[in-house]
Amino acid sequence: MAHVALLIVLFPLLGFALVLFNGSELSERGAGIVATTAVFGSFVATLVTFYLYLHHETAVTIHLFNWISAGTLQVPAGLYVDPLALTMCLFVTGISTLIHLYSMGYMAGDRDVCKFFLYLNLFVFSMLVLVLSDNLLQTFVGWEGVGACSYWLVSYYFDRDSAASAGKKAFLYNRVGDIGLLAAMFLLFNHLHTLTYTTIFSLASTLSPTTATLIVLALLLAATGKSAQIPLFNWLPDAMEGPTPVSALIHAATMVTAGVFLLVRMSPVLALSANGRATIAVIGGLTAFVAATIATAQKDIKKVLAFSTVSQIGYMVLAVGVGAYGAALFLMIAHAFFKALLFLGSGSVIHSLHGEQDMRRMGGLAKYLPLTFPTFLIGWLTISGVPPLAGFWAKGAVLTSLYALNKALYALGLLTAILTAYYMTRLFVLTFRGNERFRESFHGEPHESPWVMTVPLVILAALSVLGGLLDLPWLHQHTLETFLSPSFATTAVVAQSSGLQISLAVADVIAAVIGLLAAFSLWRDRHENPRLEKSFFEQVWHWDDAYDATIGRPLTSLAAFSGTVIEERVIDAAVMGSASRMRRSSEGLSKLQSGFVRHYALAMVLGVAVIVVYLVAKVGS
C-alpha cells in the first residue's frame, strides 16, 4: 500500500517534470496529454490505495525521509493515509483528471499551454502533498504550493493588469491566512514539541483550554485565508481572472476546501475548545449568508459562481464548527462535483461566446449548447437543493446537524439556502433563457464545445445526480460518515427522530422552491434590475474599499513616508550631516597647517615647555 500511496503523489510530479524539461519539444496537445495522463495515473493509484485500505482498515504512516531536524524540532517527510486523506485524494485526483481533460479543449490555441499544464500538474502535486501529509509542516508545504500555483494561474493572462493584480491579491490574502497556520504550528510545537499529526492527536488532551482555543483560532485564520471566509474572502472573486478550468479546479473544487480540510484534520484539537468551535461556526454561517447576498447582485457569470463557492464553503465551515465533520466532507465532495460542473459549464458558455462573461449579454443559449445546457441544468438544480440530487442530501446533512445544535445558525443556513436557489436560478435564466442578447456584441453563431470539454461535463453531471448515494441518511449506516469516522475526534451525535428529519428535509425543499420561484418570476423577462441588484451587494459590501481605507492606503503612505522622509531626511541625513560637519571642522583645523616648518617646530617646543612646566610643578610640590 505504501508504494501505491507514494505513486499518488509522484505521478503529478512526474508529469510536471516531463512538461518542464521537454516543454520546448512537446506540442501543446502533447503537454496536455502528458499532464492529463499523469493526473489520471494518480487517480488510479488513489483507487488502488483505497481498495487496499478497505481491506486493511487501518491508517498507515509512510515515512519517506527526515526533512528538517534541528534541535528538538524533528519533521519527517511522510504520508499519512487515513480515510480523510483518501477521500480528499479521490475527489481531488478524480476531478483534476476531468478538468485536465477539459483544459485540453478550453486552452487549445493559447500560446502558453505548456506552462498552463505545468502549473496545473504542480498544483495537483501540492494539493496531494497537502492532504496526504503526516505532519502540519508538510501540509504547509502543500498549502503554500497550491497558493503559489493559484498565483501563477490567476495571473496566467499576465498581460492584463487586472489578472496580475488579482493573482497578487490572492497570494497576499493567502499569506495573511498563513500567519494563522504558522502561529498554530508555533503554539503546538511549543507545547507538544511535535508537528506530526498522530502524536499531536495523542497528546492533544494535555493542552490547556486557553492554548487550545488560541490554536483553533489560529487555524481558523488559516482556513479563512485559503477557503475564502470572512474576513479574507474577497480574493476569490478576483481570482476569476484566471482561465475557467482553473476557477473550476482550484477556486471551486479543491484548493479552497483546504481550509475546511485543515480544520477537520485538526478535529482532536478543535474538540478541546468549545469557544473556538463556536467562532468557527459563526464565521462560516456569516460567510455563507454574506456571500449569498453578494451573489444575487453580480453580473459576471463567474463572479456569481465564485461567491456561490464562498457561500458553500461557508456552509462547510459552519458544519465543522458544530462538529458535523462528516456532513462537511459530504458537502465538500458534492460541492466539488456540482461546482466543477457549473464552472466548466460556464466555461463552455464563455467559450461558445468567445470570452463573453457578462450575463447581460447572454440569454437564450439553451438551443445552441445541446450538451452544456442539460448538464448545467443538473448543476443548477443540484446546488439549489432539489431532491434527489447530491446537493439536497449534502446540504440537508449540514442543516440537520445545525438544527440540533443551534437554531439561530440553522435559520441563517436556511435563509442562505433560499438565497442560493434564488441567485442560481437568476444565473440560469439570464444565461440560457430569454432573448438572445448576445447578438448585440457577438457576431456569429454560438457553438457547442469539443468532446474533451463536454465529456467531463457529462461525467460531472452524473456524479452530481448520484453523489447523494454516498451518504443517504436512512441506509442502515451513513456510509461516508462511517468510513470517515476513524479520522474524526468526535462525531456530532445527531440523534433526531426520523420524523423530525423528514420535516427538516421538507423545510429544505420548501426553501429551495421559494428561491426558485422567486427568481423565475423576477428574472424571467428582464436582465437588469437595479432594485434587485443592490450596489451594496454588487460592491461586495464595500469590503475591498474598507480594506483599502484601513490597511492599504495607510500602508502605502507609510511606505512612501519611510522611503522619502525617514530614510532620506532622518537616517541618511543624520549620517551625511555628521559627515559634512566633520568635513567642515577639519577644513577649519587644516588652517593650522601653515606650511612653515618653523611654525611646527615652535608648536613642538611650546608643547615641550608645557610638559617641563608640569614636571617642575610636580617636583616642586
Partner: protein, 500 residues
Amino acid sequence: MMHSSVWLSLLLLLPFVGAAVALVLRRRQGAAYLVAVVTSAIEVALSLFVAFSYKSTVAGAQGFDFAVRHVLSNPLGLAYDLAVDGISIWLVVLTAVTVLFALLGARDRRDEGSYVAWQLLLLGCSMGCFLAHDLLEFFIFFDLILLPCYFMLTRWGGLQGRAAAMKFFLYTFLGSAFMLVAIIYLGVTHVHEFGGALTFAYGAIGQTTTSHVVSIWLFAGFAVAFAVKAPIWPLHTWSPSTYEQAPAAAGVEMSALLSKLGTYGLLRFAVGLLPAAQSTVRPVMLTLAIISILYGALVACTAKNLRTFIAYSSLSQMGFITLGVMSGSVIGTQGAVFLMLNHGLITIGIFLLVGYLERRRANVTIAELGGLQRPMPVYAGIFTLLMLATMGLPGLSGFVGEYLILIGTFGTHAWWALAATLGVVASAAYWLWAYQRSFHGAVDATNAELPDVSSRERAAVVPMVVLIVVLGVFPGPVLSRISTAVTALVTHVSPSGVSK
C-alpha cells in the same frame, strides 16, 4: 581524531596566490580570468571537501575541527589561528561559491586582470574572516575586505561609484573601530584574569568573565560593527547606494557574502563571547531585527530600481537572520545559520539576473520595465523561483531557515516571533509588487525585443536554482553539520535555550 590542518591553510592562501598570479597576468586578460575561475573553482572543491569531511565530535574542541594555531607575535597577541565549525563551514562554502559564480555570471572585461585579482583578494579576506579562530585575526581580515570592495566600486562601479564607495568605506570602517576597542578590551581582560601572554584566541577569550554592564558595552561595540555590515536598521543606508553603484560581480559578492559577515560575527563574537549581556541586549536586538524586517519591506515598495529594491529586500531578510541569531534558541540559531547560506545562494542568483538585465537595457529602473515575462519567459521563470525562495515558499531553501528562525524564536520570545511573522506577508507584498511591475502587464516596444537568457548565462544561475530546490527538500546534510556547533554556542550563552 582531528583533521589535518593543512586544508584550511590551503583554503586561505590559495586565493592570495591566485590574485598574485592574476595580477602578474593582468595584461593578458583571458589568462587572468582563467586563473581566477580555476582558483575559485578549486576553492569550491576544497571547501566542499572540508565541509563534508568536517567532524563535529573532535574531543574538547566544542565543534571546531581542522584547527591550526601559530603565534606570530607574543607582545601583539597576533596569531595565525584557523578552525571551522558547523557555523562557519557553510559560510566558507558560500564564500567560494559566491566568488566562482560572480566570476562566471558577471564577467566584466574592463581591465579584467585587476578586477579578478581584486575579486580573489575579496575571496581570500572573506575566507580569512570565516576561518579565523582568533579575534584579532578576524578583525584584520574583516577590515582588509574593505580594500577590494572600495576599489571595485570606484573603478568598475557606476557613475556615483566613488561617492558610494566612500560612504560604504567610512560606515564600515567606523563601525569596526568600535569592535577593535571591544576586542582589545577582551584580550587585556583575559591577560589580567588568567595571566600569560596577550592572546585573542577565540577559545581563551570565551573563558573571560565580564561583568553585566561591561559586557553590554562590549556587545554594543561588536554590534555596531556587525550591524553596519549586515546591515541592520538604522545602520543600513550605505547599502542602497552601494548596491546600486556596484559592478555586477562585486554586487553579487557584497550582497551575498559580505552581509553574512555581519550576522556571522554577531553570532560568533557578540553572542558567543558575551553571555552576560544577552538578557539585556536581546530584546533590543530583536526589536531592531523586526524593524529591519518590516521597514525594509515597506521601503522596498518605494524603490526606484531593482538594485535598491534588492538592498531593501536584503535588509528585511537580514532582519530575519538577526532575529534567529539573537533568539537564544538552538532551533532559531540553526535556522539563522541555514538562512545565511541560503540567502547567499538566492542573492547570487537574483543579483546575477539583475546583471543580465542590465546588459540588455543599461538600467533597471522599475518604472521602465514591464511585461518582461513575454519576451523573456525563462528569465522570468528563474526570477520567480528565486523570488519565491526569498519569500520563504516551503519546498525551497529560504523557507527552512525562515521557519526554524520563527519557530525557535517563538519558544523564547513569542511576541517578537509573531511580529516577525508579519514579515512573511510583507515579503510577499513587496516582491509581488516588484514582480508585477517588472514582468506583468503589457510589454512596450523597447522591452519586447529583449533576448531571453543565453545558455551561458543560464549556466551560472541554474546551479543556484538547483541548490535552492535541493536544500529546500533535503536540508538534512547541512542542518546536521550546523547542529553541534550551534548547540555548543547556545548552551554556552543561555543554557535554557537548548530545548527550545
